[in-house]
Symmetry: C2
Subunit: 430 residues, 2 copies
């Protein structure tokens, strides 16, 4: 592989354009870490008259041969979807020694073993992090970090559409049809939602995850699945009353040495790690005797998120020169450390004060003069004194420090003020 | 590197012995995936008369020269801790071309750049996944999967002792001294807990994470830290009443191009992803514009968990032949698929029945005859009918299926029975 790595694209929709954008924005970092620079080669599209930002119009082609037959292409990124024709094109590329990065879960869950065999035959690589849970690096973690961990179970919320619908059914008391409609209106569900709500999308992902986790062949036809389309709102409500949360789960586990992989709705105890995964988020819980439980959580879909996983796979294929990269990065110390006073935060402030008229006004005016603004106040009498608890709006910490110095000196303030950071904008959860 | 990779150990306590055990148990898998077999070479210990399971007594040595000077050792595992003498030993090994895997966060957070420079000089590698959050693969994910993700913030619960203490203060209303005592009694805190409760342990980990996330030099002295030892129970309680959870957070972020890394207690909104990380668990939240939020959760300590990270680093150094390994694994299909009837699960069962005496007895006797046992029953009148909701104890699914078939035929059962899986033993959260 030369220092320039030419990439051919099969398809260039939202994900493909995301890959182009990330490579443009982070090309320097990638080059420092890998010693290679990625170059956008031929890009197969349906219509070359539609421009793609960051892609030279002369690179757009409608003939797959322009990608598959280009001898300078080292890696093909397949982001067109569908089983045919990508299957035959990728088999040909892999057998011919061209590596492949794909986001195509349908193809992998049906023909993964055949594609891997073609890669072995051609001495090429196939990587597919983007096929499961977008940017969540679950395949890399299973393939590499947990290779020797003897995984016993993989349990996942691997479909964001259904998790969004179930979260809304519980949160707003909507029935299934209304929650689906809302998800469609907001772009979380497609016009034909069958693949998501019926469980087929989750089954394809679980087939891929189970193959990697258990080092064995699992195809989508091996995965019985049931979706949420027949769930009734009352069961979601009753589950909640009983201390459970309803989720669509993919469950893959070893059962006396045999592999069982399924997708079905399930009641999850509300203190279970997967119970708090809400909205369109995805999560995968990996269990083994050596690592106990490791959970990865993040966005399971989205153009740029999926593109990020494709780029991670491209970097994996060319390999990193981690030692030099980190050494140079750490030796350079190119980023300054932030000055103490330049940071912003929201705060919790507790003051024990004497209980007499005008104390709150006095405290509030000190804060106001220092440019510190109050979001919430709680005042309560405590014997001869009173307790003032405030949540302060996010602002420059240096101002808060100055204010505390002045409050400490007020005769009405009895003990050392208690000041604790608050994450976010100071607002508690609804 | 030959097909046999000889490993020298500096130290062989709980973590070292865990590494020996995992290598023995998973050596075949590792060999299939990497083409290499790890061999236990010289093991530096204080006292050679104490036996280490899995280690040939003749491999135990008290002279570091027996490890550092062994020309056949390709990788040194350092699990002895402390800054000196490991620093000079590892510098010598790395400069001489021997790679290093270490779990030593104190050493790395003080001398990381020097060690990386030595590795570059010697053409060797240094890996240190085990130094931060044990088996949670956060360093690999940052170094590889998110290399091009332009991380903007890393927020972590990276100390299990303090998270355990804070969780107990909130759950049981204990004051700090009582919760610390309990943590010590249960082995979650050391006799001298200063390093954990004072925030120094978290600061060392955050220095390492910030270096990798932002590709810049951050040492422990760059990280201001504050622990939980001066927190008052009433602030934990008030935070809870206001809709927040108190956590000890490590916060690293880019602030107008500058790096700010700190450790301090903080109020976290109760619906924030880090709020539900309880007990001795660790979690790291990674934020970037391309991957939004990815969170990794798991055990942040423990001998076998830390050993698992050391083994993952050993595998990373020798590299995997992923294509062949996966191809062979998937082609073999060596694990059978579980037979449908062999699986066990707990279930939620809802029946709409006619409201007349004896119905519950009838239903319960059908379940009993099929060998299905009931954990919880809820019965409620609904107009002319009644609703029966049951949680069934975990048991063979084939028995439940048989029972449903019989219930469906009962004249008292009005609609199709609703049957949904329940995760765990059927009990809701307390």
């Amino acid at each position: 592989m030369s220092d320039v790595v030419r990439i051919g694209f099969l398809g260039c929709g939202t994900v493909g354009q995301g890959v182009v954008r990330i490579l443009a924005e982070t090309g320097d970092t990638i080059e420092r870490a890998t010693g290679r620079r990625f170059e956008i080669g031929p890009v197969l599209v349906r219509d070359t008259s539609v421009s793609r930002p960051g892609v030279d119009p002369s690179s757009l082609v409608t003939d797959p041969e322009a990608v598959l037959g280009d001898p300078d292409v080292s890696i093909i990124v397949e982001v067109m979807g569908g089983v045919d024709p990508p299957r035959e094109w990728l088999l040909r590329a892999l057998r011919g020694g061209t590596s492949v990065v794909t986001a195509n879960k349908q193809l992998l869950s049906r023909h993964g073993p055949e594609l891997l065999a073609a890669a072995e035959e051609g001495g090429s690589e196939i990587r597919f992090e983007a096929s499961v849970c977008a940017a969540i690096p679950v395949i890399k973690v299973l393939r590499e970090s947990l290779l020797a961990a003897e995984i016993g179970a993989v349990t996942g919320i691997v479909n964001g559409t259904t998790n969004y619908i179930l979260t809304e059914m519980r949160r707003s008391g909507l029935g299934y049809p209304e929650a689906l409609k809302q998800a469609q209106d907001l772009g979380y569900a497609e016009a034909d939602p069958t693949e998501d709500v019926g469980g087929g999308d989750a089954a394809a992902k679980m087939a891929i995850l189970a193959s990697i986790a258990f080092h064995t062949r699992v195809l989508i036809d091996d995965v019985p699945f049931e979706g949420i389309d027949r769930l009734q709102g009352e069961d979601v409500d009753i589950a909640h009353q009983l201390g459970f949360v309803m989720k669509l789960l993919g469950v893959a586990r070893l059962n006396h040495g045999a592999v069982a992989v399924r997708v079905h709705p399930a009641l999850v105890p509300s203190d279970h790690p997967l119970a708090s995964v809400s909205g369109s988020e995805n999560a995968v819980l990996l269990e083994s005797s050596t690592v106990r439980q490791i959970m990865l959580v993040g966005p399971g879909a989205g153009g740029i998120e999926t593109a990020s996983a494709v780029v991670a796979d491209l970097v994996s294929i060319v390999g990193t020169q981690q030692g030099s990269f980190l050494h140079n990065a750490l030796a350079d110390a190119k980023r300054p450390l932030a000055a103490e006073g330049s940071l912003e935060s929201a705060f919790y402030l507790r003051l024990e004060v004497v209980d007499q008229p005008g104390v709150l006004a006095r405290v509030a005016s000190v804060l106001g003069e220092c440019g510190v603004s109050i979001l919430t106040v709680l005042q309560r009498g405590e014997g001869e004194g009173a307790r003032l608890v405030m949540i302060l709006h996010p602002g420059l910490e240096s101002r808060v420090t100055t204010a505390i110095g002045q409050l400490r000196d007020l005769p009405e303030v009895r003990d050392e003020p208690v000041l604790i950071h608050v994450v976010g904008n100071g607002e508690a959860s609804s």
